[in-house]
Assembly symmetry: D2
């Protein structure tokens, strides 16, 4: 429980890579899903040992739905800030919401995109299964926060 | 006009690349957006010379919205079939729908994912602008078909 | 043995994807390694059931060395032809050579890049191990051809 | 000139992304070229205003050769350290060398791969051209350091 206050919402920053641009001169749109995952895994990591144990127990979270809205294009070397929140928790699924922004030279931010993804918990054979009670409790406290 | 009957719906096939897999042993979810684009650009190419002229005239189509629903995971070396349709046409935007399936050894198919993307037409400075009348006519005939 | 004459050299063709370009307007250089793998796996597939059995037996081939020389840039929608050859076979490694070319509208080709990769055979624990005799025989006949 | 002492060698660190893994459970080998570029662009950035001016003057650096040797596989969430050095400077080309290592939990490092890339300076039409004198001077001082 003590790890949660840091986890909500989770803010991660990194710079746009050259490999992420396309010939239009901006970041290729599929890369925003990669950025969402960076934010999400950072949030999950901060949930602490319980989430790591869930993975060791063979429960994986697989993306079942994704929605993205693109507002302003990111460009090479932009400083990107992904803010990730737990939007919904049910016994077999968890939904995350993301705000993707550019951090400007003056410290202000410009919203680039917003997104959400739903993940379902699967057993090693790929069948939906209920998440461990401890993981659910952590995700719910992150949601409530 | 004579190119349209072939263009609707547009079917494209290719094999999953090793580089597209992740450590879960399946295709990384962001790659489905790349596959949608393969289907979409193939459909646009079949619209004929008018679309190519639109591009030369400096009108680009940028993705503003994307929605994906994942049903079954694709795996390395699967034969993938993307079926692309024009779902909506307005003066400044066009929406595409995609069905992504695996072609099985017996010739049957398994649905893997469905998706839609909305693209808006931009001028070289990145401002929304009306698509050329000829492009709109082609997209609308593709939609009606 | 009867599969080898088709396998040497192995020619594979595909089109450049939008996602493979960068803001310089050409294909991002790391993607050529992905293309080499497409050529290599196609060659290995044509080696027939023996290679598939090797994989099922838990022997994997991991890239240990790669060399690339870039001559001319590939661009979006170019038709790419990868020609793959077995350049060297030893009990624990195999070297492949690649010629990457653009197929022009007139059917002629322009050389874009040349490359080579060395792969070593590993057991499931990641230790080097001798390839199965049958796989070695197939690779050697591909090399000699 | 005052920026050079920090620039040589240039050390950059980041974490392995899930999207960078493949179904073998390790980082897909082409991604190491992306990491080399992260190290190189960071080094070039530290060269200061002169390099930025070179870019604005329309001189670009394009990769003409790449060599990679893979020692140990990187895995998801590993902390990666790229150490980049200027290995050779000539009027039309510059060669960089890279050591890619994993930073272990105890602060020690494990060497994962070593690489080198040669870049040639091009004008906006893609023809080789001599680098501006000031850029050459900076690269040479980085090399000597």
């Amino acid at each position: 429980m003590q790890t949660m206050p840091e986890a909500v919402p989770c803010v991660t920053e990194f710079r746009v890579r050259y490999a992420e641009t396309d010939q239009m001169g901006v970041v290729y749109h599929a890369n925003y899903l990669v950025w969402c995952e960076i934010g999400r895994t950072e949030l999950l990591r901060r949930l602490g040992p319980s989430y790591a144990e869930m993975e060791r127990a063979g429960v994986v979270l697989a993306v079942s739905d994704a929605k993205l809205r693109y507002h302003v294009s990111a460009r090479y070397d932009d400083l990107i800030r992904v803010t990730t929140r737990v939007a919904q928790v049910r016994s077999r699924l968890v939904e995350f919401e993301y705000e993707i922004a550019r951090v400007n030279a003056d410290g202000g931010t410009t919203r680039l995109a917003s997104a959400s993804t739903t993940l379902i918990s699967l057993d090693p054979e790929g069948r939906p299964r209920i998440m461990p009670a401890e993981t659910l409790a952590l995700l719910r406290s992150a949601h409530a926060a």
